[in-house]
């Protein structure tokens, strides 16, 4: 189960710099913490976040175990043409979440 909040403009003028803000529910378990019985809790983090604009990767982020739970990622890109932004979070234990946004550029 995963939950994502994305805030991005639905439309923009060509050449505008647009900001995309994302928030995802994830424990980001570092793998260095001991549980109640003293054994290590296995690592469970998001390893990678990418954003593809009409199939072209415009932003990529490698996440580390030091990043807190529920990571907030904000980045900007230039609105070039009408199309879709595909946001992908992938990580440990087969974690994969995809969100597609459409943007109208005039």
């Amino acid at each position: 189960m995963s939950s994502v909040l994305v805030n991005a403009p639905r439309s923009a003028r060509r050449g505008d710099v647009i900001e995309i803000k994302t928030l995802i529910l994830h424990p980001m378990e570092s793998g260095f913490r001991a549980g109640a019985n003293g054994t290590l809790i296995p690592r469970d983090i998001i390893e990678r976040f990418t954003c593809a604009y009409n199939g072209v990767e415009v932003f990529r982020l490698a996440l580390s175990p030091a990043i807190a739970a529920n990571p907030f990622i904000a980045f900007s890109t230039v609105a070039t043409e009408t199309g879709t932004l595909v946001l992908r979070w992938t990580g440990d234990n087969g974690f994969a979440v995809e969100e597609t946004l459409s943007i109208a550029v005039e």
């Binding site: 939950s3 909040l5 805030n7 803000k21 928030l23 980001m28 739970a69 529920n70 907030f72």
Partner: protein, 270 residues
């Protein structure tokens, strides 16, 4: 550790704490409240840094909104033997505006005050004929955050209910009662030394203006009850049982203490 060592260790801890308080008292400055003059009360919001304040103010950066979104889905989901959703009785969640600002309220059927979380669970068991949600569970926090959000920006307005009077008085007495190995009452920190620092951390005035809160230390959403439990452990007292009436009494008193302050739920706190 035997008994003597334990009591010696506890004496040392108390002495260290007293020394820390003595040092910070001389350093700390009395803080003036923002906005209203004459009202020395301050929400913990104003004691946070600009980054955290911005995090709370921006709904797309406030992680509590992840729970709120779940709460919205739960509000509209039909469940239980009655196959009813919250929305089937209450309609739009906008009908909940002001509810979080006046709870805990007296429940005539139970003959005692109930908190907002308990109220949600009573609705589940009585109206939806579904199982009650566990205290502190994700679903319960999500629903209470969604309901609390409807009262954002409203002043805290606890009702002057005659039936609540004895419970409020019990809460006030508890607030002023010394507890735990450190032998501290809530009032000694939050009334007498609110705004000052203890071991580098700011002592807030303890106004429940933003619950449920996303606390960075918890890396998740938590209720006022969880916060109270944390304080009890902090003074090394045995926390009350999960369903103890003390929590509701304290909550009742705290809401009256914060009467008129603006509700910011769901907030972000360090």
């Amino acid at each position: 550790m035997n008994r003597r060592q334990r009591s010696a260790a506890s004496r040392t801890a108390v002495a260290a704490l007293a020394a820390a308080v003595a040092v910070t008292v001389t350093v700390a400055l009395a803080q003036t409240p923002p906005g209203t003059t004459g009202d020395a009360r301050r929400s913990g919001y104003h004691d946070m840094g600009p980054a955290l304040r911005a995090m709370q103010d921006d709904d797309s950066a406030n992680p509590a909104m992840l729970w709120v979104r779940d709460g919205e889905a739960l509000w509209n989901r039909r469940l239980g033997a009655a196959a009813k959703a919250c929305a089937d009785c209450h309609g739009s969640a906008a009908s909940m505006a002001g509810v979080a600002a006046r709870y805990p309220a007296f429940d005539a059927q139970l003959g005692r005050p109930v908190s907002l979380e308990e109220r949600i669970n009573l609705c589940r068991t009585d109206r939806q004929k579904a199982e009650a949600l566990a205290g502190g569970s994700r679903e319960l926090l999500a629903l209470s955050a969604y309901v609390a959000l409807q009262s954002r920006g409203r002043p805290i307005a606890p009702p002057d209910d005659e039936r609540l009077r004895s419970y409020v008085a019990a809460g006030e007495a508890l607030f002023k009662r010394r507890l735990g190995q450190l032998n501290l009452s809530c009032a000694q920190c939050h009334d007498d030394n609110g705004g000052r620092r203890l071991g580098g951390a700011l002592i807030p005035q303890a106004h429940p203006t933003a619950y449920p809160i996303y606390r960075l230390e918890w890396q998740g959403l938590g209720s006022l009850k969880r916060r109270l439990r944390g304080c009890l452990v902090g003074v090394r007292a045995e926390p009350f049982a999960d369903d103890a009436p003390e929590y509701v009494s304290l909550e009742l008193f705290l809401m009256r203490r914060a009467r008129g302050m603006t509700l910011e739920a769901p907030g972000v706190r360090p």
